[in-house]
């Protein structure tokens, strides 16, 4: 029901700090947009501006086609989950959740139904009579989520709504939120640090850094075609590995060269790099884009000595000393390696990333 | 409102005033809008009301404020009303004097009194004296004996706190020492060497710091506190308004009931038995005077209270009977009820004799307020030993000259 448009918007805090600079961002109606970015990059600030809780210092903010720079929050019809919860300490959990509806004069029984329904989904039905001070951290967060969930606003704003929940709960809550989006058919702006969450929920992801937007795109675009090293590094766990080197173009074949290591780009990638021979680049290889084959074909070999082995549940992370740099890869858990083993991995050359060594912008975007 | 008289008093004898008003309303057909304010803040309240032009017709005035209020044109003379002026023949001379400023009379009194010298007869005889002191020196002698015998720590009660009574206490001392603050022309003579004022103050200072027959706490003792202390039997001698005799001899209020006697004010070296007298009167507001009809009504009320009502000085008489307060009209001394009441606790002859010796305060001028503040502080400073009596009076005298020249 609402398209949100930031037009050259800036936010300057009273102490002079500029939290957002010249933000241009369009969030389409009914879209589920996830804001991603390092701590302090301005995500919460963006949400607060959409909600009308922080003034837009410069530029414009539109809902559909109208400026809402000065529209007060209660006329904006947004629901928000605050990063800090902001529960009403004097109200019970029930009253906290119901408050938004009470303010909108919903009938009592409708409110009751919705609150109980939400509480059940959030598994806090047994806590409805408690006050926030008597809840655990995760329980408080769920109350905060419930307060938004019961509403039917034009825009949902959620600021890390699941950060304090355990994995199982997080997954089921994620499903609830997905379902909410589906059934409400309304715009969601969502902040999270959890990549799985971002990738599973988002229609589009906005990657921010220091108050500036780095890239906007579908999860796939962001993951597969990061616009620059920052974006590339930001997603993926363990993070993407970089190797500085040089491009060598021989006919159709584009090769990345760094010392002994030579990696031939798969053709569809390579063709964007033709004619750039000699260019200094940063190669990006995601941890999972390697395979341990008995004998990798040349042009896809990454060889090095094992520096660390870290089993994590289903997989293991392998630290590898390659060309003097330590790279991390994720491989199958069943393979056993010991510290110091020299091994070879085959890189998936169709999924290599290349960035300019100086600007760090992607060359194959 | 044409027939309503706005009547303002301080909160004294409220019921009596009300009853007298009721009678007035019945007799005259006029209505009286009566209001009262606490005595301590009365003057301030009135100043505010004058400046704020609140409706006022008749009001109580203390003699000390007359010049100020007259100069400020808040109250008006009543000379035009012969029926009022006629009462002067019955009144004590200092009383009429006190209501007169620049040749015009501003009202009729309803209460008059003077500073009396009171002693505790029992303490006196316990100390072995048969008669009260006739002079201040004699008082010191007697007091020292009492002090020695442990009859009283501080035989003399002097109330020297800064309050409205202070000027009366000072005046009584000065007058009885044969001094004055100002001469007939109104110029200061208080600072004169060997003058009565100086010897009075010197005497007070000596009693406090040399003889220690007066507590150095006298500078915080107000008239009322002094009265209560005297009533508690703490002292043998006191300077107090004469009307306090009634209370001092009332067993419910006093522990020396029946022993409080009055004597003539002791004399100073060059002095006499003179004392200070004061009075309060009914005045007419300038506001009322400006409107003939209102002024006439106001004059009626003034007469009813300050003069005779139904052929009698009813108000003054009742006030005396109720409270023991003094009256300024001599004929009442002859009234049988009055004599009977007086004789219950006092000596009419003595009262009459002393009242005749009462003088009005000689410092009542438009700048009295300014000067009084400085003078009071100066006397206290001398008593506290912060200044010599001569310096203190010099300061007061200079202040006087200064203020006089300014106006």
């Amino acid at each position: 029901m609402a398209r949100i448009l930031f037009e050259n918007a800036s936010k300057r805090y009273p102490n002079g700090f500029v939290a957002l600079e010249n933000l241009n961002l369009e969030i389409k109606d009914k879209e589920f947009v996830v804001l991603l970015g390092p701590s302090g990059c301005g995500k919460s600030t963006t949400l607060n501006m959409i909600a009308g809780l922080e003034e837009v210092s410069e530029g414009n903010l539109f809902f559909d086609d109208e400026t809402v720079n000065f529209t007060p929050p209660h006329h904006r019809d947004v629901a928000m989950v605050f990063q800090s919860y902001a529960l009403y300490p004097h109200k019970t959990v029930y009253e906290n959740i119901a408050f938004g509806l009470v303010m909108r004069k919903h009938p009592k029984d409708d409110i009751d139904r919705r609150v109980r329904d939400a509480a059940q989904r959030l598994e806090i039905t047994h806590l409805l009579d408690r006050r926030p001070s008597q809840l655990s951290g995760g329980q408080r967060q769920r109350v905060a989520l419930g307060r938004a969930m019961v509403r039917k606003p034009a825009v949902f704003l959620m600021d890390e709504p699941l950060s304090n929940l355990d994995a199982a709960l997080r997954i089921s809550m994620r499903a609830e939120i997905k379902e909410l989006h589906r059934s409400m058919q309304t715009t969601f702006v969502y902040v999270t640090h959890d990549q799985a969450e971002a990738l599973t929920l988002a229609d589009r992801i906005v990657v921010m850094r220091n108050g500036l937007v780095q890239q906007i795109g579908t999860p796939d675009e962001i993951y597969e075609h990061p616009a620059n090293t920052f974006v590339a590094s930001f997603l993926g766990s363990p993070p993407i590995n970089y190797l500085d080197g040089e491009l060598v173009v021989e006919g159709d074949k584009v090769t990345f060269v760094r010392g002994e290591t030579r990696l031939d780009f798969a053709p569809e990638r390579g063709k964007k790099l033709l004619g750039q021979s000699g260019r200094k680049v940063k190669l990006g290889i995601r941890a999972e884009d390697v395979d341990e084959r008995s004998e990798p074909s040349s042009g896809e070999v990454i060889a090095g000595a094992v520096t660390s082995v870290l089993p994590v549940g289903s997989d293991q992370f392998l630290g590898l000393q390659v060309e003097g740099e330590e790279l991390f890869f994720r491989i199958n858990k069943d393979l056993r390696h010991n510290y110091g083993d020299k091994i070879k991995l085959s890189a998936n050359t169709g999924r290599l990333h290349v960035f300019d060594a100086d600007t760090e912008a992607s060359l194959i975007g | 409102a044409g027939n309503t008289i706005n009547y303002q008093t301080w909160s004294a004898a409220v019921d009596l005033v009300k009853s007298h008003i009721a009678a007035f309303e019945k007799a005259s057909g006029l209505t009286v809008d009566y209001a009262n304010a606490p005595w301590a803040q009365y003057r301030d309240a009135m100043v505010t009301k004058f400046v704020g032009a609140a409706p006022l017709d008749v009001l109580w005035v203390s003699d000390a404020w007359l010049p100020e209020w007259a100069e400020a044109k808040w109250i008006a003379p009543i000379n035009a009303y012969d029926n009022l002026m006629a009462y002067n023949s019955d009144a004590e001379a200092f009383c009429t004097d006190s209501m007169t400023y620049k040749g015009e009379q501003y009202g009729l009194t309803y209460y008059t009194d003077y500073m009396g010298f009171i002693y505790d007869a029992e303490k006196l005889s316990a100390a072995g004296f048969s008669a009260p002191p006739a002079s201040w020196d004699e008082l010191v002698e007697q007091a020292l004996v009492m002090k020695q015998k442990g009859i009283a720590e501080f035989p003399l009660m002097l109330a020297m706190a800064k309050e409205s009574w202070l000027i009366e206490f000072m005046s009584a001392m000065v007058f009885s020492h044969g001094g004055r603050f100002t001469d007939d022309k109104g110029d200061s003579i208080m600072q004169e060497e060997k003058g009565g004022a100086l010897s009075a103050l010197q005497w007070v200072v000596d009693t406090v710091s040399k003889h220690k027959i007066v507590s150095s706490g006298c500078v915080e003792t107000g008239e009322l506190a002094g009265l209560k202390a005297f009533a508690a039997g703490n002292h043998a001698f006191a300077l107090l308004p004469k009307y306090r005799l009634a209370m001092l001899n009332d067993p419910a209020q006093s522990q020396i009931a029946g022993r409080a006697k009055q004597a003539l004010m002791p004399m100073g070296a060059n002095g006499s038995h003179a004392t200070v007298g004061w009075m309060r009167f009914h005045g007419m507001s300038a506001q009322a005077a400006a409107d003939k009809a209102r002024a006439d009504n106001a004059a009626k009320l003034i007469e009813w209270f300050g003069g005779k009502a139904d052929g009698q000085y009813t108000f003054q008489k009742l006030l005396f009977l109720d409270l023991g307060s003094g009256f300024g009209v001599k004929p009442l001394f002859e009234d049988a009820d009055v004599r009977a009441a007086y004789n219950k606790y006092g000596d009419v002859e003595m009262i009459q004799q002393q009242q005749a010796l009462a003088q009005k305060k000689d410092v009542v001028t438009p700048w009295f307020g300014d000067w009084n503040e400085v003078n009071g502080a100066a006397w206290q400073s001398a008593i506290l030993g912060n200044a010599s009596p001569a310096d203190a009076l010099k300061q007061a005298g200079e202040e006087w000259d200064d203020l006089k020249s300014q106006s």
Partner: protein
């Protein structure tokens, strides 16, 4: 355990966590709790003594006769306690005053009671009405203003705070006459409304100032949450801030009530008759130039304490702690 001694792992002096040698924490915590109780007892007794000693003397003396009251040394317990002062206040009739009925006072018997005693209860009623109205208006007028100044950013915000304070830095004495002119021009002389509006003007600056401070202490996040939940500024104030600010409201209520209850100078100027006079004025009028009854004034002063103390008892319980616990993280 070798490594343990080599690494500077612990800051603990003894090198063992959780206990300094030789301290029995159980005993110690019991000791502290005794100490704690002792300090509380001592503190309470001190307060009770400091406050109740003068007040107790007030009570005792209100039941003594004028003669007894000045005894040296004082009679802490009245020889013959009498309730005549209280009786006079409560039995004072309202019949018309004539020469015959005028004497409620009888100096010769010592039953000295000022005739204005009968004004005391009506004056208390006046005072109570005035104080209550002032409290209500203070809240109505002061709370939104304080909220706006604490939580809304607008042009002239700090200016208004200082303006409000400015109205209270001038000595009342300088303002009495101009105040009087205002009240006269409003036609409110001798009307308790004159007191209501002037008291409002003298209390509301502090009400606002007090509330600003406490509102500022409440987390901004709650304000934000409420607004997103659909509250206008006004609703945010009433539904979220007021319940949380309850303790400070108590402070303000008591402040406004007692300031009005005690105010003297303005009441003196604006009121004239018993119909509008407030308690302090009537109290003051018990001291005339002719006489004063300490015991009676003390009795009256004692009665004056009762209504405010009841008000205080009613509201004091709302000064509770931890109202914002659990509200926000961070």
């Amino acid at each position: 355990m070798e490594t343990v001694h080599q690494t500077p792992a612990s800051e603990n002096f003894v090198g063992r966590p959780g206990h300094r040698r030789g301290i029995n924490y159980k005993r110690r915590s019991e000791f502290f709790s005794w100490m704690h109780r002792g300090v509380i007892l001592l503190g309470s007794l001190t307060i009770l003594f400091i406050v109740l000693a003068p007040v107790g003397w007030l009570v005792s003396s209100s039941m003594q006769t004028e003669a007894e009251i000045v005894s040296v040394p004082p009679h802490w317990i009245p020889d013959q306690p009498t309730l005549k002062n209280f009786r006079a206040i409560f039995s004072a009739g309202d019949e018309e005053v004539t020469y015959e009925t005028r004497s409620t006072q009888d100096p010769s018997s010592g039953n000295y009671i000022p005739s204005t005693a009968r004004n005391l209860l009506p004056a208390m009623r006046n005072s109570f009405v005035v104080a209550t109205l002032v409290v209500i208006l203070n809240l109505l007028v002061g709370v939104p203003a304080a909220y706006a100044m604490a939580k809304i950013r607008f042009l002239g915000r700090s200016g208004s705070v200082y303006f409000i304070l400015t109205t209270r830095v001038i000595p009342d004495i300088a303002l009495v006459v101009p105040f009087f002119l205002v009240i006269k021009n409003l036609g409110l002389l001798d009307n308790i409304m004159s007191l209501v509006i002037t008291y409002l003007a003298i209390t509301v600056p502090f009400t606002v100032f007090i509330l600003i401070q406490y509102f500022e202490g409440l987390p901004d996040e709650l304000d934000k949450a409420a607004r997103v939940d659909g509250c206008s500024r006004f609703q945010t104030l009433t539904k979220v801030y007021l319940p949380l600010a309850l303790p400070s409201l108590v402070a303000v209520i008591l402040f406004a009530f007692l300031t009005s209850w005690n105010e003297f100078l303005l009441a003196l100027m604006f009121t004239q008759t018993a119909q509008s006079q407030t308690l302090p004025i009537v109290l003051a009028s018990f001291t005339s130039d002719f006489t004063i009854s300490f015991s009676f004034i003390n009795a009256a002063g004692l009665l004056a304490i009762v209504p405010p103390v009841i008000v205080a008892i009613i509201f004091e319980r709302y000064i509770v702690s931890g109202l914002t616990a659990g509200a926000v993280k961070g």
